[in-house]
């Protein structure tokens, strides 16, 4: 990264999509009238769902949604990297491989033959992988999905010439700030909040339910302690595996926690 101060007054911006549900682009498409404001402040040169198409263009900032999951994706992400001064990965698919990375633990080729009658026509890599597995990523915004305020904070930071920031602390800190009663302590619910990255605003505990880790691992996540706590709450080892193997199954901290719990299954 050459430094965010190198971003011009009206930056050229692209929004690219790889394997995903489209939900993170909606953080922009759901901005309402702010979307029109944004379109005045940046030059949207490529954003297929919104209209502009120029995937090969040189841009100042490329937002990338989705995971790399086909041979063609590999080519495309390299091209995007070469033509973007700053590359920002948005959402769980782009930062950890997403929910579709659950196939990484299975026999993907066998899955193809089970679903499609012309498996030869399906170009799919064995693994679904995050953008950072293939090219240098300047900034990662975690979340499934990322929210409009998160995206606007990044764009505003860039427009002001500042480096974007993100909160890697735990969902627990957001619960405390909102004054939500802890669902784990007060109701015995197996909550992922203690190891999950903040950013959503503790939406799930706010509804009295468990966090399920959709923002990925927090920094310094103590997954061992949480897995032990899940055990004390009566979760069987395979249920503990499922807790860590969901939206962000390939994030290293969650993958390691699931592997440990899996060993407990085998014992």
């Amino acid at each position: 990264m050459k430094g965010p101060t190198a971003i011009p007054v009206k930056p050229r911006v692209a929004v690219h999509k790889f394997s995903s549900c489209d939900g993170c682009q909606l953080a922009l498409l759901n901005l309402g009238e702010d979307l029109l404001e944004l379109a005045e402040r940046v030059e949207l040169v490529h954003f297929a769902e919104a209209g502009p198409i120029d995937p090969m263009a040189e841009v100042d900032v490329a937002f990338v949604e989705g995971s790399v999951s086909t041979p063609e994706d590999l080519e495309r992400i390299r091209h995007i990297r070469e033509h973007s001064r700053m590359l920002i990965a948005i959402g769980a698919c782009a930062t950890s491989g997403g929910i579709q990375a659950l196939r990484n633990n299975a026999d993907g080729a066998e899955w193809v033959t089970r679903i499609y009658s012309h498996p030869e026509a399906i170009a799919s890599l064995a693994h679904s992988t995050p953008i950072s597995s293939h090219v240098k990523v300047d900034f990662e915004l975690w979340g499934c999905p990322v929210s409009g305020p998160q995206m606007l904070a990044v764009v505003n930071a860039l427009l002001l010439g500042a480096a974007p920031r993100d909160n890697a602390d735990k969902v627990c800190t957001e619960c405390k700030r909102h004054g939500y009663p802890c669902v784990m302590v007060s109701r015995g619910i197996a909550c992922m909040g203690p190891v999950t990255r903040a950013g959503c605003g503790a939406l799930c505990p706010g509804l009295g339910r468990d966090c399920y880790g959709c923002y990925g691992p927090a920094e310094n996540a103590n997954t061992d302690a949480l897995a032990a706590q899940f055990g004390r709450q009566g979760l069987e080892p395979r249920a503990v595996v499922r807790r860590f193997q969901s939206i962000n199954s390939q994030a290293p901290a969650f993958l390691a926690a699931a592997d440990k719990a899996r060993m407990a299954c085998d014992e």
């Binding site: 999509k17 394997s19 769902e49 198409i53 659950l102 196939r103 026509a121 959709c214 249920a239």
Partner: protein, 433 residues
């Protein structure tokens, strides 16, 4: 004629403003269409496979990830299927609020489609930002309606993309009366805006197309079917969702990562126009009156009426949400307890883009043995190809490539294809020999 015999091969990235990654191959030989294929190559994401072994409590959060634009449809369909298998009786509150929640998604998705994806075509604009320069009030109105749909989803789901409120048996939590009161005011204020939207869409000049097709949609004896009902077709079919496989089939074409649906071997239409064709008599009286005023008389054989159909459904959804929130009370419990049992669960609802069908085989522990999900876009895919062929012939094949491409895009956007519920662009290959 010499122009037409010239061999032309074009490879252009064309269809922006759809959700999904696809291509259209068009080959014109001697003034006739020799090949026309909608190719979908959005990478497969294998949801049906990785749902295997998952616990029923996880399913609503997982299936939401199939589509960021219509997660509610996936969540509610899965919940409905499992609740039926587990003999869970939803409380009247939960039943009503599921419909309100779903109305939010219709409002959001339809308004996004009308303003950001479809309308620019009819004003010579490349996108909604350009359209906002010539029709600022209309675009801003549309974005406000879209935002209101999102707010309705957030009321029950805390966020509108992958909401977190649905659980088997109802919802995790119930909104407070104060929040409902606030939203009711906004819904009421949006009614005249949505009426104006219906009139605006009805005033947009669209091609006069006339094609024969079978419409398939859910039907309900009293309501305009959204979150419950049976499956009906314009030829008189009326079946329980569990009998879907007896009449509908999916086949895989080597050109696609989606499956092609057929009804008794034929293409069929699902989505807003199919619903309007079958269920217009179930619209609330003021919505029927406004529809009559527009001059659109259902059943319609013109797929370009989909634009008005979406606007009409936005107005319907606002009326329904208001009706159901009218005497809102916070329930004793927002959910009923569920006890898993083994068996086959089927569920069916009307996603914004059309019929959505789920089938889960469950074990006695409440884990998925196998899953099948039939989304609206794969059902429409064969119909889109059939429509393109007829529509292009009607339009005339000797138009320049750009005009052909735009016409194809307009036709395809009528279906609001959510190609594997993800996005990109369509590449059009025109070959002329």
């Amino acid at each position: 004629m010499s122009e037409q015999r010239r061999s032309v091969a074009i490879h252009v990235p064309v269809l922006a403003r759809v959700e999904g990654e696809g291509a259209l191959d068009l080959r014109i030989e001697g003034g006739d269409i020799s090949e026309l294929r909608l190719r979908i190559f959005e990478p497969p994401r294998f949801f049906e496979k990785f749902l295997e072994g998952r616990h029923y409590t996880e399913i609503p959060d997982m299936v939401a990830r199939i589509c960021g634009i219509c997660p509610v449809a996936y969540q509610v369909t899965a919940a409905q299927a499992l609740e039926q298998l587990f003999n869970v009786e939803l409380s009247p509150w939960a039943r009503a609020m599921r419909r309100v929640f779903y109305c939010g998604e219709w409002i959001q998705s339809h308004s996004l489609h009308i303003h950001l994806l479809a309308a620019p075509d009819f004003f010579g604009c490349n996108n909604a930002i350009e359209l906002a320069r010539i029709a600022p009030d209309e675009v801003r109105r549309g974005l406000r309606i879209q935002a209101l749909g999102n707010e309705l989803m957030e009321l029950f789901g805390a966020r509108s993309v992958h909401p977190v409120g649905v659980r088997i048996g109802g919802f995790h939590d119930a909104p407070s009366l104060a929040r409902i009161r606030e939203l009711r005011e906004k819904l009421r204020a949006a009614l005249p805006e949505a009426e104006a939207l219906v009139r605006w869409t009805a005033g947009i000049a669209v091609p006069q197309d006339d094609q024969a097709f079978v419409s398939v949609a859910m039907r309900h004896p009293r309501d305009y079917a959204i979150e419950r009902g049976v499956i009906g077709a314009s030829d008189g079919l009326l079946i329980e969702p569990a009998a879907f496989d007896d009449h509908f089939a999916e086949r895989h074409e080597p050109t696609s990562t989606a499956l092609f649906g057929s009804y008794h071997g034929q293409p069929y239409l699902v989505g807003p126009l199919a619903r309007l064709n079958l269920n217009h008599a179930r619209l609330p009286e003021p919505v029927q009156a406004l529809l009559a005023e527009t001059g659109l008389v259902p059943p319609s054989r013109n797929i370009f009426h989909s634009l008005v159909a979406r606007a009409v459904e936005i107005l319907l959804a606002l009326h329904e949400a208001l009706r159901l929130l009218d005497d809102y009370r916070v329930p004793d419990s927002p959910w009923a307890p569920a006890t898993p049992r083994a068996g086959v669960a089927t569920g069916c609802t009307e996603a914004p883009r059309g019929l959505l069908w789920h089938r889960y085989e469950m074990d006695s522990e409440g884990c998925v043995v196998n899953a099948r999900i039939v989304p609206p876009t794969s059902q429409n895919q064969a119909r889109i190809e059939e429509d393109l062929r007829l529509s292009l012939l009607e339009f005339g094949l000797d138009h320049p490539d750009d005009a052909l491409r735009l016409h194809c895009e307009k036709v395809i956007r009528n279906y609001d294809p959510c190609i594997s519920c993800a996005t990109h662009f369509l590449r059009l290959n025109v070959e002329r020999t």
